[in-house]
């Protein structure tokens, strides 16, 4: 992936850059708004990671200008302002996702990858399939090995989100947002409870376990044929 990173805090910039490079991504980085915007106009990046507060032009203006120029590169906002309102503002301006500082790198990378997939989204596909697990969005039917699985609405939604991002890490925060529309992390571990229920229904009694827990980071639905 070719990533444009615009962030004025050099230490954060360097750690994101290093991290992304470790994951074999190409990173162009700028520490002020003007240079960042110029790079954005080139329209050659897969993803833009953009700080809200920048010297020169601020992040919101950059997105607005890019969108006005029909540049639709997915934008992930970074912000030191943890407020919910800022998230809404950022998304309204044309941002695609929002992450408040301090964030964890695994969260950043998971979101970057999820944004990248949106460019050729599976969400337009009606039938999602991984190994022998099939989810049909039209009739909301789920089968594994051709056997019908009866899912509750929330379980279905959870599975749908996981399967749309199959093989990739979905962080807990992403699940909370996408499945339950919760923009904070409740004390009660509702994710684990729902995941374990879903797991019982789709994986129990099968040799291959599809729903994986990635320790300290999140979940992923994947099939590794050995």
């Amino acid at each position: 992936m070719k990533i444009l990173l615009i962030e004025d805090d050099l230490s954060i910039l360097s750690f994101i850059k290093k991290g992304l490079k470790e994951m074999n991504h190409t990173v162009d980085s700028f520490s002020n708004g003007n240079d960042g915007l110029d790079a954005g106009y080139l329209n050659e990046h897969d993803i833009i990671i953009l700080d809200r507060m920048l010297p020169g032009i601020d992040g919101l203006t950059i997105v607005t200008k890019l969108r006005n120029n029909k540049i639709l590169t997915p934008v992930l906002f970074l912000s030191a302002l943890g407020e919910v309102n800022d998230r809404v503002k950022g998304l309204k301006a044309g941002g695609d996702d929002y992450l408040s500082k301090p964030f964890s790198f695994s969260e950043l990378i998971a979101r970057v990858e999820a944004l990248n997939r949106r460019q050729n989204p599976k969400s337009h596909v009606d039938i999602l399939k991984i190994h022998d697990l099939i989810l049909n969005k039209r009739n909301r039917k789920v089968t594994r090995n051709s056997i019908n699985i009866n899912l509750q609405p929330q379980e279905y939604k959870l599975l749908e989100v996981l399967m749309e991002n199959s093989n990739d890490l979905i962080t807990r925060t992403m699940l909370l947002e996408k499945v339950w529309d919760l923009h904070f992390d409740p004390q009660t571990n509702i994710i684990d409870v729902h995941i374990s229920r879903l797991r019982k229904k789709i994986d129990k009694g099968h040799d291959t376990q599809l729903l994986k827990t990635i320790r300290g980071a999140g979940y992923s639905i994947q099939y590794n044929s050995k």
């Binding site: 805090d9 230490s11 954060i12 750690f15 994101i16 290093k18 991290g19 470790e22 994951m23 030191a80 302002l81 943890g82 407020e83 919910v84 309102n85 809404v88 408040s100 500082k101 301090p102 964030f103 964890s104 790198f105 695994s106 929330q154 339950w180 919760l182 923009h183 904070f184 992390d185 409740p186 004390q187 009660t188 571990n189 509702i190 409870v193 729902h194 229920r197 320790r215 300290g216």
Partner: protein
């Protein structure tokens, strides 16, 4: 209520002064009474003595015949003077008295008796006083006066004194009650204003424009004190926010480096992962502190109309597997179509915090959590009841403070920010939260303004 008036300082002062005044008045009245009676008695006695001496002289100078003539003449002209002359055997010789009275001499040598006169159809009895003498030939002479006015005046005086004292006692009691009420009312204006401000998180000040007495200075000083407290509270609020803000950057770098280390070290170093988890917890606390600080700065952004009934129902749905797994029986009573203006994300977060607490502290074997939502008179009431261990009444106000964790829960997970967050979010919505006991357990009631 009425007796409370007497507890006022002014009322007590008036009562003490009235009592003192009444005491003085009683002493004075007795003195006036005695003095008046004495003066009247003396005057009557003086008149009696003059007459008495005159008649004795008449007798000595001119003999008994002249005495009787003089008595007869005097009896005609006078009606307050009393005369009687008798012979040895008390047979009347002259005078305006019919029979010799009983001789009850007082220590000054006067006799006091009563005479009855027929006036029309009425018999009138008057007190009288007289001096008597027995001449050598046995003639008895009585010279006296009708002293009824003395009695009348003394009675009138007693009545006047009783009336005055009664009046003053009543005036003292009523006056002190009125004064007490007045000062209590004035103090109460201050009192209520202070109470309201205290209940309202120190928002508002005492309006002292219409106060024009010694309470004005008090209200000015109370306002100054409130302002000072407000500043201190603000400072302490800002401190945690500022610390969180300043520490965010180093923490982000710390975490970034840990993650880089973890990425580079593919052997999945357990210690690095644990350190990342701890850093995450720190980040959570900082984010919560910053959130609370931003809610407290009262920026009411992104408020919109939404259906609380639907939102609460979906929250219950999200939590239903949690209830099942924890053997918690959930009872809910959700009135439909309750709408409000607010920030849905924030309010949901607040309700989730309360629900998390209810789940966490419901240790009872037969766990029940009840959630009810209803609307009444433009107010929305949202209640969370559990049958867990509850909270001691004296801790009710404490639990909303930052980093407060009750002694018995020090060991449980949590950072002591959950309820501060709830309170901050609800304040932002002008909503109130109140705690009470479910016997056993806790009832959390939230009151929000609704839209029609």
């Amino acid at each position: 209520m009425f007796f409370n008036y007497f507890k006022a300082l002014t009322a007590k002062t008036v009562l003490i002064f009235s009592t003192f005044f009444i005491f003085i008045l009683i002493v004075l009245s007795i003195a006036v009474y005695e003095f008046t009676l004495k003066v009247m008695e003396k005057e009557n006695n003086r008149v009696i003595n003059i007459e008495h001496e005159y008649l004795i002289k008449t007798y000595i100078k001119y003999g008994p015949q002249e005495l009787i003539r003089a008595i007869n003449q005097r009896s005609k002209n006078q009606n307050t003077a009393i005369y009687l002359a008798t012979d040895q055997l008390y047979n009347k010789l002259a005078g305006n008295l019919n029979s010799w009275p009983e001789e009850n001499k007082d220590n000054e040598g006067y006799i006091n008796f009563e005479i009855s006169r027929v006036l029309g159809s009425q018999v009138i009895t008057h007190s009288s006083r007289a001096k008597i003498i027995i001449f050598k030939n046995g003639t008895k002479l009585l010279v006296g006066r009708d002293v009824q006015p003395e009695i009348l005046i003394s009675n009138a005086l007693i009545n006047l004194i009783i009336f005055t004292i009664t009046f003053i006692i009543l005036a003292g009691i009523i006056g002190s009650a009125l004064l007490g009420r007045y000062s209590l009312t004035k103090i109460n204006i201050l009192n209520l204003a202070i109470q309201k401000i205290t209940d309202n998180d120190l928002i508002g000040r005492i309006n002292n424009k219409n106060i024009n007495n010694e309470h004005k200075q008090i209200s000015i000083n109370v306002n100054r004190m409130l302002k000072r407290i407000d500043e201190l509270v603000d400072n302490s609020k800002n401190i945690s926010g500022n610390i969180a803000h300043d520490l965010k950057k180093p923490l982000t770098k710390l975490k970034g480096n840990l993650e880089l280390a973890s990425i580079k070290n593919k052997k999945n170093n357990k210690y690095i992962k644990d350190a990342i988890t701890e850093a995450d917890n720190l980040i959570k606390i900082f984010n919560a502190l910053l959130d609370i600080a931003s809610f407290e700065s009262e920026k009411k952004q992104d408020f919109h109309v939404y259906d609380l009934s639907v939102s609460i129902k979906s929250l219950i749905e999200i939590y239903s597997p949690v209830f099942e797994d924890n053997n918690i029986k959930l009872k809910s009573e959700i009135q439909k179509d309750i709408k409000l203006v607010g920030n849905k994300i924030l309010l949901t977060q607040a309700f989730t915090n309360i629900l998390d607490n209810a789940i966490k502290y419901t240790a009872n074997a037969k766990k029940i959590i009840q959630i009810s939502l209803h609307k009444n008179n433009n107010f929305i009431y949202l209640q969370f009841k559990d049958n867990g261990e509850g909270i001691n009444k004296q801790d009710y106000s404490k639990v909303f403070d930052r980093f407060v964790r009750l002694e018995k829960h020090r060991q449980t997970d949590g950072n002591g920010l959950g309820l501060s967050m709830v309170k901050a979010i609800l304040n932002l919505h002008n909503a109130t939260i109140s705690l009470s006991s479910n016997k056993p357990g806790l009832i959390v009631e939230i009151k929000l303004a609704s839209i029609s």
